[in-house]
Structures are given as structure tokens and as C-alpha cells.
């Protein structure tokens, strides 16, 4: 390779590096890694993720280190003569056993985490989540509240226009799923048409919504973590798969109770209407709740 070639390559690498660095600076560290999230599940997932990432990094550095050392030392241009060896039973046994030990070390916390994640017992709130092409329906089983959640119209309008005009572009809805913090919430997830998947990264888990089947998952948002959490459908479900976001509005106990009371009152007020419009009344957000989340 000539000197000019090398210089050109170096400047190309520099340019790419600078671009990457500027993107990192603007996006921040949270745009590089899994979020820690706000639930015990998301914490477990994050811890396992970091554990395995570091194990992989260490193995990678060791293996690639030896490889680069070999590339440096054992080059023909240094005038070396190649060795003749072609196997070593001891070495081969060692590098079969060591990975097995590392794997057991990974499998133990992973198994523990998985068992905890799949335990949906003793939930205090149960919500049925139904995926539709392309919106979500939330039914609060104990409180008798039904919500429909669609992509926020300002996002919809911005798709072919100026995306900066929409706040939380593609990640905002007309009505969020309101959840209490500090309570174990069980989601019963299903679908009315094709397979969707319900996923909010900060809550630590996704689950497929499958027509004809009911899947379960649970969430307990930490007491001090009231706030808005955003996610998206994660299973290809047709043309608007990219446009069925999920927004969770996590509220402290009293705020959540007040919201439940308000929703139930709104439903009672709509009750005298005929059966035909009853469905509509529950399906439409109340004027107060119409603001985008």
C-alpha cells in the first residue's frame, strides 16, 4: 500500500470517527446502551446485559489480543520460520472446559432472573391488552375501564412533512395507559388480528400479542418512578407497524386513584346513552384526556 493510499485511508477513518463522536455527543450515553428502566425486571435485564457484555468484551480482548500479537510477531516479513505443531490435546481440553465454566456462571443468574420474570402471581391490578392493526386497547379488568390508544394525530401528520413539528414524533398517543407505581400489574396480552408485541424498554420486557392466545407479563414500577414511558409495537404487523406506539403514564397511588374515579364517572355519565353509543363512549377519549401524551 502506497503512502498516499495510507493517508487517504487515515483521513477517511478520521472523518468517520468524527461523525460518530459528534453523534455520540448529541445522543448521549442513553442512546448507546440498554436503559436501566424503572422496574425490577428491567433492572435484572440490565444487570444481566452488562454482565454478559463485559464477559464478551474480556474474552474478545483476550482472543483478538493474542491474534493481533501473532499477526505482529509471526509475519513472514520478520523472517520467521513457521512452526510445525498442529495439535495439543491439553490446550484443546482447556479451551473446551473454560467456556463451559463461564457459561454456567452466566446461566445461573439468567435462570434466576427468568424465573422471577415469569412469575405473574399475586398481581394487584390486571389489565387486558389487545393489539389491533394499528392501535392498542386497554381494559382494566377490576375497574371496568376501557381505553383505546392510537398514534397521536400530530405525529401522523408529520410523517410526510416536518417531523420536528411533532413532539415525541411517533412515540406519542392520544390516550396513554395509566398505571399505578408500586403495585404489581399483570398484563393479559392478546390480539384481534395479526401478531403484535407490547414493549416499553423502560419496563424491561416485551411479549407477543397473539390472536387466539393470551400471554401474561407483569410490571411493578418503582415507587419513586412516576412518569411517562414510551415504547412501540415490536412485531411486524403490516404497513403501520412503525406507527403503533405505546405510552405508559405511571402515577403515584392517589393520582392513579383519582384518575380511576374520573374515568368511572365519565363512563357513568355516558351510560344513559343507547347501547350503540355506549361502545363509542368508552372507545372515545374524554375531552380532558384528548391531549397528546
Amino acid at each position: 500500500m502506497g503512502a498516499t493510499t495510507k493517508r487517504r485511508l487515515a483521513s477517511a477513518a478520521l472523518a468517520i470517527g468524527a461523525l460518530a463522536a459528534s453523534a455520540t455527543a448529541r445522543a448521549g450515553y442513553d442512546q448507546l446502551n440498554l436503559p436501566v428502566g424503572v422496574t425490577p425486571i428491567s433492572q435484572t435485564a440490565y444487570d444481566l446485559h452488562m454482565l454478559i457484555t463485559w464477559i464478551c468484551v474480556i474474552i474478545g480482548v483476550a482472543v483478538f489480543g493474542v491474534m493481533f500479537l501473532s499477526i505482529y510477531l509471526h509475519r513472514k516479513s520478520r523472517g520467521v520460520t513457521p512452526a510445525k505443531f498442529h495439535h495439543s490435546t491439553a490446550a484443546e481440553i482447556i479451551w473446551t472446559i473454560i467456556p463451559c465454566v463461564i457459561l454456567v456462571g452466566m446461566a445461573y443468574p439468567a435462570t434466576k432472573g427468568l424465573i422471577a420474570m415469569e412469575d405473574t402471581s399475586e398481581a394487584e391490578v390486571t389489565i387486558k391488552v389487545t393489539g389491533y392493526q394499528w392501535k392498542w386497547k386497554y381494559e382494566y379488568v377490576e375497574d371496568g375501564i376501557t381505553l383505546w390508544s392510537n398514534l397521536d394525530p400530530t405525529s401522523r401528520a408529520a410523517i410526510h412533512g416536518d417531523v420536528s413539528a411533532a413532539e415525541n414524533y411517533l412515540l406519542s398517543v392520544d390516550q396513554p395507559l395509566v398505571l399505578p407505581v408500586g403495585k404489581k400489574v399483570r398484563l393479559l396480552i392478546t390480539s384481534d388480528d395479526v401478531i403484535h408485541a407490547w414493549w416499553v424498554p423502560q419496563l424491561g420486557m416485551k411479549k407477543d400479542a397473539i390472536p387466539g392466545f393470551v400471554n401474561e407479563m407483569w410490571i411493578r414500577i418503582d415507587d419513586d418512578k412516576a412518569g411517562i414511558y414510551r415504547g412501540q409495537c415490536a412485531e411486524l404487523c403490516g404497513k403501520d407497524h412503525g406507527f403503533m406506539p405505546i405510552v405508559v403514564d405511571a402515577r403515584a397511588a392517589d393520582g392513579y386513584a383519582a384518575w380511576v374515579t374520573e374515568r368511572q364517572a365519565a363512563k357513568t355519565a355516558a351510560a344513559p346513552a343507547t347501547a350503540g353509543t355506549l361502545a363509542q363512549a368508552t372507545a372515545q377519549p374524554t375531552p380532558a384526556a384528548r391531549a397528546a401524551f
Binding site: 457484555t53 512452526a83 495439535h87 495439543s88 467456556p99 452466566m106 446461566a107 410523517i159 392466545f213 404497513k239
Partner: protein
Amino acid sequence: MSSHTAHDEHHAHDDHHHGPEPGLMRWVYTTNHKDIGTLYMLFALLMFFVGGALAMGIRAELFQPGIQILEPELFNQFTTMHALIMVFGAVMPAWVGFANWQIPIMIGAPDMALPRMNNWSFWILPFAFTMLGMTFFIPGGAPAAGWTMYPPLVLQGGWNLAFMVFAVHLMGMSSIMGAINVIVTILNMRAPGMTLLRMPLFIWTWLITAFLLIAAMPVLAGAVTMLLTDRFFGTSFFNAAGGGDPVMFQHVFWFFGHPEVYIMILPAFGVVSQIIPTFARKPLFGYESMVYATASIAFLSFIVWAHHMFTVGMPLTGELFFMFTTMLIAVPTGVKVFNWVATMWRGAMTFETPMLFALAFVILFTIGGFSGLMLAIAPVDFQYHDTYFVVAHFHYVLVPGAVFALFAGAYYWLPKWTGHMYDEKLGQWHFWLSTISVNVLFFPQHFLGLAGMPRRIPDYAVQFADWNRISSLGGFAFGLSQLIFVYVVYKAIKGGEKATDRVWEGAHGLEWTLSSPPPYHSFNTPPKVTEAEAHS
């Protein structure tokens, strides 16, 4: 025989001309393993650019937020067709092309065992892909439910489903015939003295791959046939309302799908195991453990499938089983990587283009292996699943994995195939540009996935914009860099410095004892293979 006198006379005539048919019909009628290998590889290269063009469209749409170029329906058609074309049209036929060219000349045979079937298995492919590609021009467009074809979504497609199913049937027939041919050739036509454990690693990996093909492709054919009858003949295999189970499709599909990834990667292991010893001028370290590792990976590939489905709501014990078996694959894969590094150790290395691609393969495939191990951990897979992290993972194993191994093998054997040395300088340019751009293209996708970007979306939230732009720039650069490869191949076919028989100083194996290019019927008298020659 005596009852077919007329035919015998005709055949007697055939047996006497040892050259190819003159003119273009040579390629239609050919039963010669090298001609068919060339056809396979040129077809694969063409498909690589068709699938690549679709990928360029995808990356152009994802260059910035908002929808500019591809409406969501068309975007989904692009992602689906990109995958189908790259998997079934580019990578798999390219490896079959390698098998055709290399197996006879590496085991000391005159040709493949079943030459007419060989011709047929190639010539099915252009029809299969014409049928698949046609769907872009029929009402309703091309298949858009992803290459994984999950029902019920795929059943919402129009006529394209029928076209896709029949195209998959044709591809499956082609693959199975190719695999039978490989097995029969390897088991029956080895030169005297070439025992199984004296076969070159490339032959071993292809033999195992061929068994995977025979086991996996019919399963895919069955799955898509059930889709066909569900869509057009009123069955309910995957329709819950009719008593079926949509998840059952995923189980059947991935029972094919996981072996499929090894169908694409095992021959890559083989090629890299040929190249590293040549340029390290030192025998392959741990030959036997390489063979056993390959066989273990092949076996494990049949009992890990549901790691693609951790979010469908399996019972806990099922999730644990598939998590453990999947993690286990790291052991034989690790053995391979360690063996490659040990082969380099205390060698005398030079870094011609094939070696560069092989070294990049070892590193970048291993990075894909690491992310694969991470994905195996079910409790975290609930976060990774169906995000760009997965996209980054499988592109690392397939592009700087399988595709780089194909490039490595192509540069390695191109002088043997064409009789001319390729342009080393251009080869190095191709390598460096590809290696830098492929990482700019795919590494940021890990970040996108971890930060929460789902896969298969035509548009995204603005916080994903920066990494998507960088990824797209890498994509365009990678796409353009591949034109260099085409030019290098074209130049080598046209002419250039005459290649010697051995081509590479450190090359060992029967193919290097033949002239470059080899005679039309490779080995007319079988060579004798001794232990010393086989493992030097």
C-alpha cells in the same frame, strides 16, 4: 445396455468429445462441475446486487426520520425481498457454486457424481427467482410480511403468497438435489487414500451442511405449503379461529430456520480453515476437533430453534431448555476460533487479500457470535428481541461472516479458476473499503437496538436519527465498494498474470496439483493421498 443399441451409439459418440459444447448452449446443457459452479456463482453475484439494491433502498429510506422514498407497504416489500434474495439467491447458491468447483478438485474426482441432476438443480434457480421477483409487478405487490412469513400477517397478502410459496418449493428442490449430489460425490468419489479424516475441512463442512439441507429444506417446504392451503384452500393450520395455532408456524419455521443459518456459515468455517493455514504456512491446528466441533454445531442447530421465539409465551421450562442449548453452541464455536488463532500462532504469515478477508472473518464473525450469546440469554432477550440489536447480530454473522468468507474463498481460488492472478492492489482496496464500511453500517445498529428501535419499521423517532444516518452512509459505501469486486473478477477472467499450479506458496491440497485453470474433466486418473500430504 444391449437393449438400447441406438442410445449406446449416441452415447459412444458423446463420450469421445471432452470439451464443452460450443457457443452459448454450453451453459444450458452443461453437466460439467466447473461450468455449473461458475453459473451458480455468477447467479449468486447477480442476486447479491439485486438484494443489495433493495438494501440501498431500505437504508435510503432510513437515512432520516419521516417517509421520503418508500411508503410503508413498499418498505415492507423491500425488507422481505432483500432477505429472501440474499439468503436463498445469493449466499446459498454461492456456496453451492463453491461446492461444485471445489469438491471434485479437492477430493481428486473427475466431476460431481450426478452431473445431470447438477444441471437441473442450477437451472431451477433462475425460474424460482423470476417467479419471486415478478411479485413486484402483480396487484398487491411483493411479499411484505418478512422473510419469516409469520401468519396471520402473511395470510393477508394477495397472490404474492402463492408465488412466494412456489418459489420456495423450487429453491428447496434445487438445494436438496445439490445436497444429495454433494453427499454422493464426497462419500463415493474420493481419491484412493483420502479417508474421511484426511478430507480437507472445506469438504467436511460441506458434507455436514448437505445433511443439514436435506433435513431442513423439506420442513420449510411443509410449512409454506400449510400457509398456501390456509390462504387459498380453507384449512386452519395456523388460524386460531379454526382451531389452529399461529405459533406452531414459528416452531416449524425456525426448526428449519436455525439449521439454515448454519447452512450459510459452516462452509464459511471450511473456507477459512483452508485459507489461514495456507497464509500462516503452518498446518491447521486441531483438525479433528474442527471436524467434531462442526458436527456438534450441526447437531445442536436442531435443538435450539425456539430461541427466536422467547417472547411468544412459552412455558418456563421450554424457555430454559432453549436458553441452555443455545448457550452450549458457544463451546464448539469457541473451539473453532481458538483453533484458528492457534494456527496463526508461530506461523509465518503474509496478508494477501484472501488472508485479509479470512482474518476479518474471524474477528467480525466472533463479534456476531458474542451478540448471539447475549441473545441466547432469555431474560435479556425480552429486551433485545425484534430490535436493531438483532439486525446487527445476524448481519454481522452473515455479511462480515458468510459473505466475507465467500470473498476470501473467491480471491483464494480465483487464480485456480481463471488461470490468472487477480489484481492484488484492487483486492486490498476492496478489502479495506468493505471492512471499514461494513462496521460503520452495522455496528451502530447495536446501539439503535439497545436504545429501543424496533426492527422492520420504515420510520423512527428522532432520537434514532444520528445512528441511522451513519449506518446508511456506511451502507452506501459498502454497496459501492462491491463494484470493485466485480471489476477484479472481470479483469481476472479477461486475462492478467498467468497463475502457477500451486498459486500460493503455502498452499496444500489436491486442487493445487492441477493446472490453473484445471482440465475440463478434473482428475482423469485418481491421485494417491497419503497421511503426510493430507495434513501438511
